[in-house]
Amino acid sequence: MKSLDEAKKCWSESKENKQVELPGDEVKQIIRQRIRKEKKVLFEYFWASYIWQFIIYVAMTNMIIRFWGDLRIVVVSLVGILMYIPFTIVFIKKFTKMSGKTNGSFQSLRSNLKLQWNKMNEFFVFKRRFDWLGIPVSCFILTVIIFKLWVPGGWEEHLTGALIVYLFAIIAFLIATVIENRKRFKKPLYKLSLIIKEIEEEQ
């Protein structure tokens, strides 16, 4: 076999032997299994983020009730809740949009890849913006709560200690965020952009 025309002939001859029938029950089994798998994947990412936000709400509400007379704590807790409410709403909306893989229709390879890139990038831009605001504020609230609940005198009397805890919390959050962003967004976006670039060259 030296030319592609010969290869094509060989290919079509080999095709004759390759038609394998899939019984209906097996198709249904595959579909059931894939639906379970898809739900599981969505569940893992969505609930990991959602539970974190739920913990924030519960902790903040608890702080407001517990320290109702302490204006500073009430304000800090309210800021936490108010900051996370729009994030939760937008998060659910954007995540649902991003994870809606096919929307029931497929266009050409080029259109689909661009669509996937846009959806993922849109969510990533939103997440990155929230990270810039959310990480410092969340860490500040976390530090205030830790010192209020477990350190006698609170953060006011242990300013250096509170600052160290705050910085450690920021570093930990940043590391986790950078790793997550690289794995879930930057690498997939880069791979997608390479394929799109390849398709679009010479167009």
Binding site: L22, V27, T102, N112, I199, E202, Q203
Partner: protein, 165 residues
């Protein structure tokens, strides 16, 4: 999807299962990956079947879904390999062929393997006897671009095939 549509889907799918096998074969070397992607393609076809309006041939639509799914799967760094065991024939992506043909196909597949993801899709569609219009529709390239690329791909593949011969 109602039961009538489902039965029709299974009937049409069964006329073209070879397409899924060949897409899996061309993009994935590991048999476990192939089986996983095979199942994912069947699932994506089932999911998007209600939106198939018959504007293109069923096989053309199937290539579009299969290739898009394969591309998505390649992008994912880790794919779950936990699957329920299915009937034996599903894992048998390359059934028995005469040995000389098997050898020739092996050379062809290894030559194709040197191509980029997009070029693999183009050459697969070409080998499957699709017209330039159909290749353009599936890939989103222009017809002219398909023909230009095919010339380049043919040259590259022929060089590889000559090397192996």
């Amino acid at each position: 999807m109602n039961s009538g549509q489902e039965a029709q889907f299974i009937r049409e799918l069964n006329q073209h299962t070879g397409i899924i096998h060949r897409v899996c074969r061309i993009y994935f070397t590991d048999p476990v990956d192939r089986q996983d992607v095979f199942q994912e393609i069947v699932y994506q076809l089932w999911k998007s079947y209600p939106s198939f309006k018959g504007e293109s041939k069923f096989s053309t639509w199937m290539y579009t879904v299969a290739l898009n799914t394969a591309f998505s799967q390649i992008r994912k760094e880790k794919r779950s390999i936990q699957q329920e065991p299915l009937h034996d024939h599903l894992s048998e992506i390359t059934p028995y062929q005469p040995s000389d043909m098997e050898e020739q196909m092996k050379h062809l597949y290894s030559a194709i393997d040197t191509l980029s993801m997009v070029d693999k899709a183009i050459v697969l569609l070409y080998l499957e006897d699709n017209s330039y219009e159909e290749i353009a529709a599936v890939t989103g390239l222009t017809k002219t671009n398909v023909s230009v690329r095919l010339v380049r791909i043919k040259r590259k593949l022929e060089e590889k095939l000559k090397e192996t011969n």
